[in-house]
């Protein structure tokens, strides 16, 4: 059997063993997300505009990640709303930045892998860079949104009469607790995977100046920064969505 299949089966087994039904559905969401990601590449390769594809696929990926991973529906709905809002804000940041910084496509370091390939494929690589950036931030956004929404809904369940101002303070304080560790997830997630590139840079004695202007390095750092911005924005946005929802529920009760 293929290594990927075996590893996949082990992961599925472990997730079901430890997570029960939640674990099994979480594994399913992973499978779906893979399918969606591949679908996104295929759609773009068929000529669909990258921006449209990333928005549509992004919306669905967020839904799968949030609703399949979180059993608590009270928390999942506002988390999804907040994640969508943040995704739209991020697109508004990512699109102009990618057009400005032009860190799309490939660099000289990729030459070996590109041998014999036709590069003039008629697909805008800036669009592809935007898609990459958006999709890579979604997981972090979803995770942070769930954490905050779950924390706040817990607080609301215990103190249903909490004033909205107090709820906002609580939201930010939960955000402060998760931000440090989330940063580390992102930092290691991105840079751990690029160890080889950094060894390349150091081994060939790239100057600091060349590194910070290097296409691949810039593209990678940008993805980390976009994810960070996304996670930071999730904190007030999720809290805001929760307070709006809370206010409506209080009104209903009166």
């Amino acid at each position: 059997m293929n290594t990927i299949t075996v590893l996949g089966l082990i992961l599925f087994g472990l997730m079901t063993l430890i997570g029960g039904k939640t674990g099994a559905t979480a594994f399913l969401s992973l499978l779906f997300n893979f399918g969606l990601l591949f679908l996104a590449v295929v759609l773009i390769s068929w000529g669909f505009p990258a921006m449209g594809v990333s928005l549509v696929i992004g919306t669905i990926i967020l839904a799968f990640t949030i609703f399949f991973g979180e059993a608590n529906e009270v928390a999942a709905k506002p988390a999804y709303m907040a994640a969508l809002i943040v995704m739209v804000i991020l697109v508004l940041i990512i699109f102009p930045v990618e057009n400005w910084i032009m860190a799309q496509g490939f660099s000289l370091e990729d030459s070996e892998d590109l041998e014999g390939m036709s590069l003039a494929i008629g697909v805008s690589f800036i669009g592809v860079a935007v898609t990459e950036a958006i999709l890579s931030t979604l997981g972090a956004i979803a995770e942070a949104a769930i954490a905050i929404a779950a924390g706040l809904s817990e607080i609301l369940a215990q103190h249903p009469q909490l004033p909205t101002k107090r709820l906002y303070i609580d939201g930010i304080s939960i955000g402060k607790q998760i931000i440090g560790t989330t940063f580390n997830t992102l930092f290691f997630g991105f840079f751990g995977g690029f160890l080889a590139l950094f060894i390349w840079f150091s081994g060939l004695h790239y100057s600091f100046g060349s590194v910070i202007n290097n296409k691949i390095f810039v593209a990678e750092v940008l993805m980390v920064l976009f994810s960070l911005i996304g996670v930071i924005l999730v904190v007030p946005v999720t809290t805001w969505v929760m307070t709006v929802q809370h206010r409506q529920q209080v009104k209903h009760r009166d």
């Binding site: 293929n2 290594t3 990927i4 590893l7 082990i10 992961l11 472990l14 430890i18 939640t22 594994f27 992973l30 591949f38 590449v41 990640t65 949030i66 399949f68 991973g69 979180e70 910084i101 496509g105 590109l114 390939m117 036709s118 590069l119 003039a120 494929i121 008629g122 690589f125 860079a129 999709l135 890579s136 979803a142 769930i146 955000g175 402060k176 931000i179 560790t181 940063f183 580390n184 997830t185 930092f187 997630g189 751990g192 690029f194 160890l195 080889a196 590139l197 950094f198 060894i199 390349w200 150091s202 081994g203 100046g209 060349s210 910070i212 202007n213 296409k215 920064l225 911005i229 930071i232």
Partner: protein
């Protein structure tokens, strides 16, 4: 205050040409001279354009001189790009008069600094002091990371497992110490992180041995200058380390909280609660890493597809390594849950009762 200073810093990168060893120039005028439609062997239509770019040199010996340079680029811009008035670029000016002056690439530091400033400003505005600590921990880790790469190069990758194994533990100690301070809680979290990641590595090595690494295409790994297999494993461990720490921190913190609220709780119950908490965290967390690992492969995958490769071959050559990485990280993330819960239930201070 800090935020305004940062913005001034971003502005300064426009006039930092003097700091560079390379020749920096600013584009003052651009004129498109030719455009052609091209079709490659896979029926991909693209446009090739030629522009005459006028640049004025900003530093070094040729400062103040202007050059007119021909730049050919495609609409899709995989390896090339158009230049716009106001862009700053790096120039190669050959010493002999016969060779043409060429543009080596765009100077991207201003835009990069701007986005970094935006992230930092938001961080400080919303998170205040906690934001600063988070930033500090990332900065310190970056320094460690840099040091480890230097050592790795000095030893020519000979002790890569040992070196990065030690580094991974150091990363965990430093990060958790900054987040939690030095306490029993920190030790428990650290134990869970190291054990979870270690178990995942052991399991994957066994799977590798049993399946003879079929479908793991090390030859498709990018930017490799050393033996790919150890490099790949180290990348995977480092990549998942942050996520496992993230999760262990959450679980252990909640369990210690629980113990403070209900001092008489039995270890068995603590273990159960830990699993409960872990359940809802693991799914989203695995997805975080999965999306990060996979998004990187996007451009190359697209290129493969448009160059007439089948879906299967494209997946194997581009996405399979990311997939293996995601799966191993996923196993680490799941295993850390029982380990963290068990350690917390055993090592929780009993004297809290008093």
């Amino acid at each position: 205050m800090v935020i305004v200073l940062g913005l001034i810093g971003v502005g300064l990168t426009r006039i930092n040409a003097g700091l560079y060893h390379q020749t920096v120039a600013q584009v003052t005028h651009v004129q498109t001279t030719d455009r052609n439609t091209t079709t490659d062997e896979f029926e991909n239509k693209d446009k090739t354009l030629v522009q005459m770019v006028t640049v004025r040199v900003l530093n070094k010996a040729h400062r103040g001189r202007t050059y007119r340079i021909k730049n050919t680029y495609t609409r899709s811009g995989a390896m090339d790009q158009p230049y716009r008035v106001g862009d700053q670029v790096f120039l190669r000016i050959p010493s002999s008069q016969h060779n043409a002056v060429t543009i080596q690439g765009l100077k991207r530091d201003t835009a990069l600094a701007f986005v970094a400033w935006l992230a930092l400003a938001l961080l400080l505005l919303i998170m205040r002091f906690s934001g600063l600590m988070a930033f500090l921990s990332v900065a310190l880790n970056a320094v460690l990371f840099y040091a480890a790469i230097q050592i790795d190069l000095a030893t020519n990758g000979g002790h890569i497992y040992l070196l990065f194994g030690v580094l991974a533990v150091l990363f965990a100690v430093l990060t958790l110490w900054l987040v939690l301070g030095f306490s029993r809680q920190m030790v428990v979290t650290l134990g869970a992180t190291v054990a979870g990641t270690g178990l995942a590595v052991i399991i994957s090595l066994i799977v590798f041995a049993v399946t003879h690494e079929r479908g793991v295409t090390y030859e498709s790994m990018q930017y490799v200058t050393q033996v790919p297999r150890p490099l790949f494993l180290v990348e995977t461990v480092l990549g998942s380390l942050g996520a496992v720490m993230d999760e262990s921190t959450d679980i252990v913190a909640s369990l210690f909280q629980l113990k403070t609220e209900r001092p008489d709780i039995a270890p068995r119950q603590v273990f159960k609660s830990g699993i409960q908490i872990g359940r809802s965290i693991m799914g989203p967390l695995i997805n975080v890493l999965f999306l990060i690992f996979m998004a990187d492969t996007f451009a190359m995958t697209l290129l493969y597809l448009r160059n007439g490769n089948s879906w299967g071959y494209t997946f194997t050559m581009n996405m399979s390594l990311g997939m293996v990485q995601s799966l191993i990280s996923g196993i680490g993330i799941v295993l850390a849950i029982p380990v963290a819960s068990w350690l917390a239930s055993r090592l929780m201070p009993k004297e809290v009762v008093a």
